[in-house]
Amino acid sequence: MCDECGCAAGSGDTHVHDEQGIIARHRTNPQSVEVLTGILRQNDHEAAHNREHFDRHDILAINLMSSPGSGKTSLLEATIDALGDRYRIGVIEGDLETENDANRIRAKGVPAMQITTGQTCHLDARMVHDALHGLDLEAIDILFIENVGNLVCPAGFDLGQHANVTLLSVTEGDDKPAKYPVIFRISDLVLLSKADLLPVLDDFSPEQAEKHVRALANPADVLALSARRIETLVPWLEWLENMVVARNAKALLAVDALAPS
């Protein structure tokens, strides 16, 4: 029984009064509330917002991830050389410091926004959203978001991308997917980069790397390539073009669904 009005609430519970001084309700103090919500709800919300931006402007957005030095920027340079005359490409670069990577991309005549994260080890949806304001989205068909070089933290944050592409350079070890299961499990494509070095490395097996990806219940293609050997890029470029077609088809379906019958 409560101390104030004799109701069934326990002694010490809080009574809330409205303006007339009438007890509006009792509340238990403290009070347990069931929530069951994603801790990254805010980021997921912002990522969905980014995805709407991309879809409205018919942009395919790719989140490119890897450890530092696996060749993300070199792959982008080679991809721009190969596809630049057929698709309008844009790049968002994430690094702790410097504009170096964005400058390398700009030297190819492609718009690039650099995000310097300071000590933050990953990009999040808000940072990408802010960077989007610096790009002309009407003039982009494919947007690459080059995440901070890190195989741990970027995996946790949806940016609004349509696909995750993760690089694993053949100088790193074919068991990387087993060591970093979180990031390789969510990868839609795994690229074994610097594959021109395979003949001189006797301890990297592309088959083993693929086996480790499968052990994450991940059906993603695992493609070996080298940014220095243009002919090895063909499967990657085909994958990319298929993604453009798939995204456009999905966008058309969405438009059809909205159109009056």
Binding site: T14, V16, T28, N29, P30, Q31, S32, V33, E34, V35, L36, T37, G38, I39, L40, R41, Q42, N43, T120, C121, H122, D124, V152, C153, A155, G156, F157, P177, A178, K179, P181, V182, I183, R185, H212, R214, A215, L216, A217, N218, P219
Partner: protein
């Protein structure tokens, strides 16, 4: 070390819920995480003790439920508890399984009060 970022999100959620219920303080949080969320419980605990300063959860306790990695094999109609880097059916070895548990990063419940030092009830 993205656990600090995760903590800021967690605390923002808790404060939002407290505000919704017109309560001033959060005295306890219970979360559930799976190994495939990429979040380490001990790091999260340490980050939480730093991140909660000057928030409505300044004196809150954090309880972490660690969830197992469980995959479902359609062929065997079998659920297996497995390691985070071996998402395979324990019976047939198939990798074409569905993840049923292990990727969670969930705020399960909060305890709200009108003062940060209110004692936590036993439910």
């Amino acid at each position: 070390m993205h656990e600090l970022t995760i903590c800021h999100s967690l605390l923002r959620e808790a404060e939002r819920i407290a505000k919704q219920h017109e309560r001033k303080a959060v005295t306890a949080l219970t979360i559930a995480i799976g190994p495939l969320s990429g979040v380490e419980a001990p790091l999260l605990e340490r980050a939480f003790s730093i991140a909660r300063t000057n928030t409505a959860a300044e004196f809150a306790t954090l309880e972490i439920e660690n969830l197992p990695v469980v995959v479902w094999c359609e062929d065997c109609a079998l659920a297996s508890t497995v390691r985070a880097n071996a998402l395979l059916c324990v019976q047939c070895g198939n990798w074409k399984v569905t993840l049923k548990s292990g990727g969670e990063l969930l705020l399960k419940s909060v305890v709200l009060a009108d003062a940060a030092n209110a004692s936590t009830p036993v439910f």
